[in-house]
């Protein structure tokens, strides 16, 4: 088996290896506890190496499809009955995020969960959740997407309720499973609607044959609302602080990844499956004798601009409410959870601005009237900022959650009111927290600033008020974390926290990985944007290339 074989099989292996590892874990755990931990780390490392190989290949050679069970993607060039994974730049980009989070979370949980019972099941579930997350990200099939969504949510619900001795943790797990199962059922309903019209579940085939009938629009509404609930958009966000706040920190890190996988679903569904409406630009003759595709193009597309504006409104609500609620919290993890909510708003804002910047106007050429459809110039930069912010948010919020977990391990306290003066004993943790603070509140020179700057500028061109609100939310975010810095790390030593010790090395190592990536991304944003973000943006805005990935040469 040489390297080209590994590249060829990597989309399947990225999902299959964690899945196999998940079910091997209970057997390995029979031998030794340490061996089980090493085994889990090994699985995560192998998976992320495969992701790196795959991403490298996709960024240089374009879309890669993998058909399960062999054969061509289409039977007789028309029926798409085989399950396939289709990996373009966006998928590879999301997979990179997921792999970073995976490795860090598993290394972190080595000492974080020491002396806890039920670690065998913890590692099984966490590997299962990773497999589900990668499946959601890489799949090219709608129903497969639903299945992996459910795998991810079932595994993560069980993990949220890991502290079974606390009633609130179980309550959070119950809320999350109710929310996610109802959201997923409506997504399944929408998939059924799409299947009933086009006899296909394949995303590229759907994107090719979509005709924007009334049922399609209903399906679009169902898909967007179901995935928005899974991604935690206000006002469907209430499960998020509960779930993020009650879960163990290593699980929260992966939950951030799962949430972003749902957000990726919104991106993929709007920009690829419904890409004909959301991506198309061009000029169409405006006369009484419109036929075929041109007629569809003008008359029956969903109103992209109003969808964009509703997304912008939801994003603004998400930012404002997230940050205002974060300001009031006194439980550290709950506070960071609300801040994570505000960060999600920025990503949604970027995509909303892209949709809202679409225009259609009547132009006169050669004595004939044409309808011109296009985007204002700032749409691509908005999308770039939004996609860049996905990886930044995962890193920044992830680092802060890890710091919160470290504080919990060191002091056994979750409430900020009982903390103080930790900087005197936990030097490294404090440094990591300050890096996270600067990054998450969008201060130079960390990575958060680079992506937020792009979002501010493009948003400001659409409507100055939105840009100002985005900047204001960012300032409030800084205020939120300055409060944490003040009340947890600064100040005199609190009497009952006198003999707090620095957390073990493996946790510091996990935080250090993320902190290093944050600093590198902050200092060289151009390299990141050119090599990772730009291919992702090009891939997600080009639905025709996505269709060609399956309709090979037709």
């Amino acid at each position: 088996m040489n390297i080209s074989d590994i590249v060829f099989h990597s989309p399947a292996l990225i999902v299959a290896i964690p899945l196999l590892g998940a079910f091997l874990t209970p057997l390995v755990a029979k031998i030794n506890d340490k061996l089980r931990n090493i085994f889990a780390i090994l699985i995560a490392l192998i998976t992320s190496v495969l992701v790196a190989i795959l991403a490298n290949d996709v960024f240089s050679n374009g879309i890669r499809t993998y058909v399960f069970g062999g054969g061509e993607p289409l039977v007789n060039n028309s029926y798409a009955i085989r399950i396939l994974f289709e990996v373009d730049g966006m998928n590879a980009f999301m997979a990179i995020i997921a792999s970073i989070l995976t490795v860090v979370a598993i290394i972190y949980s080595w000492t974080f969960l020491k002396n806890h019972t039920g670690q065998d099941k913890y590692y099984t579930l966490i590997l299962l959740m990773i497999a589900g997350m990668f499946g959601m990200i890489l799949t090219g099939d709608m129903f497969n997407f639903f299945v992996f969504l459910e795998i991810t949510s079932i595994a993560s619900c069980a993990l949220i309720a890991f502290y079974t001795n606390k009633g609130k943790a179980i309550d959070a797990g119950f809320k999350y499973i109710v929310i996610s199962s109802i959201g997923a059922l409506f997504i399944l309903f929408a998939i059924g609607i799409l299947y009933s019209q086009y006899n296909a579940l394949n995303m590229a085939v759907l994107a090719n044959s979509i005709s924007f009938s009334f049922l399609d629009k209903i399906a679009l509404a169902l898909l967007i609302s179901g995935l928005a609930m899974k991604a935690g958009i206000v006002p469907m966000h209430m499960w998020l602080p509960d779930a993020y706040g009650r879960a163990p920190s290593s699980v929260t890190l992966l939950l951030v990844g799962a949430t972003q996988a749902s957000l990726y679903g919104i991106f993929r569904i709007t920009l690829s499956i419904f890409g004909k409406a959301f991506n198309t630009t061009g000029t169409v003759l405006k006369s009484a004798t419109l036929t075929g595709d041109e007629l569809i193009m003008v008359s029956s597309y969903p109103n992209v601009i109003s969808i964009g504006w509703i997304l912008i409104i939801l994003a603004i609500l998400t930012m404002i409410i997230g940050v205002l609620m974060a300001l009031k919290q006194s439980n550290l993890k709950r506070l960071i959870a609300f801040a994570a909510l505000a960060e999600i708003g920025y990503m949604l804002l970027g995509i909303g601005v892209r949709f809202a910047s679409k225009y259609s106007e009547i132009v006169k050429m050669n004595n004939q009237e044409y309808i011109q459809i296009g985007f204002h110039g700032y749409d691509i930069s908005a999308l770039t900022g939004s996609i860049f912010h996905i990886i930044n948010d995962a890193l920044d919020i992830g680092l802060l959650f890890l710091v919160a977990g470290a504080i919990y391990i060191a002091t056994k306290e979750t409430s900020l009111n009982k903390l103080g003066g930790l900087a005197r004993n936990m030097k490294y943790t404090t440094v990591f927290f300050i890096i996270g603070l600067i990054a998450v509140s969008g201060l130079p020179p960390m990575n958060g600033f680079a992506s937020k700057l792009i979002i501010y500028e493009s948003t400001f061109q659409l409507n100055p008020i939105i840009g100002i609100i985005a900047i204001l939310a960012s300032i409030l975010l800084l205020a939120v974390f300055v409060k944490v810095l003040h009340s947890a790390f600064l100040g005199p030593k609190i009497p009952n926290l006198k003999d707090v010790k620095e957390v073990p090395k493996s946790m510091l190592f996990a935080m250090g990985i993320i902190a290093c990536i944050i600093i590198i991304f902050g200092l060289f944003p151009n390299i990141v944007i050119d090599n990772i973000i730009q291919p992702a943006v090009n891939a997600i805005t080009n639905h025709e290339a996505y269709i060609r990935g399956v309709f090979n040469g037709i």
Partner: protein
């Protein structure tokens, strides 16, 4: 018109399920509401698969002469329904486990009294 009855039933089931989830405060009843929505969606998928005078999509002995072969109903929605049922079982088991745990902690199944204690 007759063929639309299943779809009406689907919408009714989903609406009843949503109403149950929204208006009931008992955790068990919330779970029942979710299973109602689930069966509505499953019924929808099964209805999609139906063709008039169709047979089950299984391996049978008919040869390739096209005149006598009856339609098969679509096999893909059946597979989808089965998968969705399997997932539904897993979700149901997990939810009931959570409810058992919650009942142990709080001695009640009222959603308004669960998870309200101060830390």
């Amino acid at each position: 018109m007759l063929f639309n009855f299943p779809y009406i039933a689907v919408v009714l089931l989903i609406l009843i399920g949503l109403a149950t989830v929204i208006y009931k405060r008992n955790l068990i009843k919330i779970v029942i509401g979710i299973t109602l929505i689930e069966s509505g969606v499953n019924l929808f998928l099964i209805t999609l698969a139906y063709r008039k005078d169709s047979i089950a999509p299984i391996f049978h002995g008919f040869t390739a002469s096209k005149d006598n072969v009856p339609f098969m109903s679509l096999p893909v929605p059946h597979a989808l329904t089965l998968t969705s049922i399997v997932i539904g079982v897993a979700v149901l088991a997990l939810m009931l486990t959570f409810i058992i745990h919650l009942y142990r902690h709080y001695n009640t199944l009222d959603a308004r009294k669960i998870g309200r204690e101060e830390e």
